[in-house]
């Protein structure tokens, strides 16, 4: 058991460590915050925004229905 523990510890010692990547961080930031940033935000959030609007409209439908009925009635 003691030998097994020593073997495990020594294998951990021999394993190459994972390092952060300081040189790639500026490249990552450049890849995110570029000219397409606002467009990408809008595109990524679009389906969620549609779902949120749909759910809220359904929840408040009782309050919204008279407003829509009046709007359509006037036109």
């Amino acid at each position: 058991m003691r030998k097994l523990l020593l073997l495990l510890l020594s294998s951990l010692w021999a394993t190459p460590a994972a390092w952060a990547c300081p040189w790639c961080r500026p490249r990552v930031r450049a890849g995110i915050y570029n000219a397409a940033y606002s467009a990408n935000v809008l595109l990524v959030l679009l389906p969620v925004a549609v779902l949120l609007a749909l759910g809220l409209a359904l929840f408040y439908w009782d309050k919204l229905r008279p407003y829509f009925a009046t709007s359509y009635g006037k036109s």
């Binding site: 990552v28 990408n40 679009l46 969620v48 779902l51 949120l52 759910g55 809220l56 929840f59 009782d62």
Partner: protein
């Protein structure tokens, strides 16, 4: 406190809360299972393939933004559920709520599948194949199944 003289007949607020909660949780299933565990796609992997560490980390950022958005969806759904359960005219129907959850998950698959996969091409369900259509259609078909199951449960909940 619920007023016993008011009949609990308005199920729409409960269905709406279920839809938002289901859509948020469905978004987490997509993000956790397909983005992180199986690594079939990332948020922008259709435009920026994650074939280098830098590109993978850029995709990770957009995955994070997506997760933040579905977290908001889930939180709003929870707030609406709290508001709905406090109303005397909203029935305490488990089938209606679970039906709403399935409707929300199904709507997430269909809306995200149509907008992101088919119209915008931000990513596809399974990127590691030249033909993306079968997996994309499978994702949409699963969404439609969820919608049907949710609709059936909501209808069954009318008797609750």
């Amino acid at each position: 406190m619920a007023n016993p003289n008011v009949s609990a007949t308005r199920r729409t607020p409960l269905v709406a809360a279920g839809i938002l909660l289901g859509a948020g949780l469905g978004g987490f299933v997509d993000g956790i299972v397909l983005h992180q565990i199986l690594q079939w796609h990332n948020m922008l992997s259709g435009q920026l393939p994650p074939d280098t560490l830098v590109r993978a980390k850029v995709n990770m950022y957009w995955d994070g933004l997506f997760h933040a958005a579905v977290w908001v969806l889930t939180a709003v759904g929870l707030a609406l559920l709290w508001a709905a359960t406090g109303r005397a005219d909203v029935p305490h129907s488990g089938r209606t709520l679970v039906g709403g959850l399935l409707l929300g998950w199904g709507l997430f698959n269909v809306i995200e599948g149509i907008i992101d996969h088919e119209i915008l091409g931000l990513h596809h369900v399974y990127e590691y194949t030249p033909n993306h259509l079968p997996a994309d259609l499978g994702f949409l078909a699963f969404g439609l199944l969820l919608l049907l199951a949710g609709w059936a449960l909501v209808r069954a909940g009318r008797r609750d």
